[in-house]
């Protein structure tokens, strides 16, 4: 068990998401930075989909009620175990009773905003519709279908075997940078109503920065930038949408649907952020700006293959390291 001493706000249990239930009106949920979650699980010998705690607001503090091995991935929030600094993206042993403290992320080398507390075996909440992710809209999944609160007891399994600790991974945010003109960027596929927008809107979409406004969260990011205008007013019936879709409501300021997006909407869609770059968006802090870079289907698949290669290589090296003789601590 992990006892939550200081929950911050909106910390939730997440795995890689609840796929396959859009037909029931149930959205994906899941980690805003799936790459950080998967990497944390690789460090601990977990399956990549094991559940972790996603932390967007700091400080955050927990006490380990049983000994385990954990890793804090995502943003570097200067983890401390009792009073001893712990490296980020590092498999670290915790003894029963030790307190882990996370503070406001340092963004000197990587602009990231969310941390993931991964534990050996994963957070042990029940599967609902095939996932342990918190479905906030429906108030199910995760830990009692809600964000964590002070005093919560979050179940974790007995690690069972002697786990290796004391090694880490280089964050893929540093290994797989993607920028346009020195600004963080994500790749976008033009969507169904792309052609309905003016040429000036197309130019603005691809060549001007977009700022993430404070009205942004796990449901969606409201952006601020040049006004995007349709050639003529567009009225659409509500239709199915997925996270990543960039909608343009009447004001011309786009909204990107994020992990907790509802599964339908009626605004015109100018583009879709590709799955492979979703983690970049998930880590982008409120107030930061980024660029959209146009890509095609093949490039989107290549980008996904690149992140899969990174994860596969990381798992291979971690397994190789853990299979070698050496001290277990």
């Amino acid at each position: 068990m992990i006892e939550v001493l200081s929950a911050g706000a909106l910390a939730t249990v997440q795995d890689l998401g609840r796929n396959g239930s859009l037909n029931l009106g149930v959205g994906w949920s899941g980690a805003m930075d799936p790459l950080a979650l998967a990497a944390g699980n690789i460090l601990l010998g977990n399956e990549e989909n094991a559940a972790a705690i996603e932390i967007p607001v700091f400080p955050f503090r927990v006490r380990f009620a049983r000994s385990t091995v954990f890793a804090v991935t995502g943003a570097d929030c200067a983890p401390r175990l009792d009073d001893v600094p712990v490296l980020p993206w590092w498999a670290q042993r915790a003894e029963a009773g030790q307190v882990l403290s996370l503070s406001v992320p340092k963004t000197a080398t990587w602009q990231a905003s969310r941390a993931f507390l991964c534990v050996a075996g994963g957070i042990e909440v029940p599967l609902v519709l095939g996932s342990r992710s918190t479905q906030l809209r429906g108030a199910f999944g995760g830990h009692e279908g809600r964000p964590l609160q002070d005093g919560d007891a979050v179940p974790i399994p007995d690690p069972g075997r002697q786990l290796r600790s004391g090694f880490g991974l280089v964050p893929p945010g540093l290994a797989l940078p993607f920028e346009a003109d020195g600004v963080a960027a994500v790749r976008v596929l033009p969507a169904a109503e792309y052609e309905c927008f003016t040429a000036a809107s197309h130019d603005a979409l691809w060549s001007t920065p977009w700022k993430i406004t404070p009205q942004s969260n796990r449901y969606g990011y409201r952006l601020e930038g040049h006004e995007l205008k349709p050639v003529r007013p567009l009225e659409l019936r509500s239709h199915g949408i997925v996270p990543g879709v960039i909608q343009v409501p009447h004001g011309g300021q786009p909204i990107i649907q994020m992990r907790d997006a509802q599964p339908s909407g009626g605004y015109p869609k100018i583009g879709t952020v590709i799955e492979a770059d979703f983690w970049r968006l998930g880590q982008a802090p409120i107030g930061s700006s980024f660029r959209f870079v146009q890509c095609n289907w093949d490039q989107a698949l290549d980008a996904l293959a690149e992140t899969r290669r990174w994860l596969k290589n990381a798992r291979r090296l971690v397994e190789l390291h853990c299979s070698q003789g050496g001290e277990h601590d």
Binding site: P88, K106, T109, F167, G168, A175, N313, L317, H321
Partner: protein, 140 residues
């Protein structure tokens, strides 16, 4: 605390009455040695840093890789010259692809030198740090 040198005569008298051959007292400033050959006691003192008879330890690369003094997410070194470090604490890192391995302090002590450049490729066993172990560490 009083200085042992103020009590050398008393210590010599006590030592002369025993069958102990050597009494050695070490402080960071000096070492005092009383040698008893069975008939008389002679006094030796050694001043300065070499007084401490502990050899500096070389901390070597546990594997080939790229030596990192700081974590890739940080812009400050994990350990610099003059830092006191705990046994098993990482002093630096070795990067092998995406994998990071620690270069750990074998004993509690003070970092006295960094022997490799950040970002250079090092082989197995390359000396990376010099560590002066704390006195009580060597005796256990």
């Amino acid at each position: 605390m009083t200085d042992a040198l103020d009590h050398v005569d008393q210590l010599c008298a006590w030592l002369a009455d025993t069958d102990i051959n050597l009494l050695e007292l070490t402080s960071p400033a000096r070492t005092l040695r009383l040698l008893h050959d069975g008939t008389r006691v002679t006094v030796e003192t050694v001043d300065g840093p070499e007084a401490a008879h502990q050899p500096a330890l070389l901390v070597r690369a546990p594997a080939p890789g790229i030596f990192l003094q700081q974590h890739p997410l940080r812009n400050q070194a994990i350990a610099i010259v003059g830092d006191d470090v705990a046994a098993d604490a990482p002093l630096g890192l070795l990067q092998i692809g995406p994998l990071l391995l620690p270069v750990s302090a074998p004993l509690t002590g003070t970092v006295t030198d960094v022997l490799a450049q950040h970002g250079t490729i090092v082989g197995y066993g390359t000396p990376l740090f010099e560590l002066q172990p704390f006195e009580d560490e060597l005796k256990t």
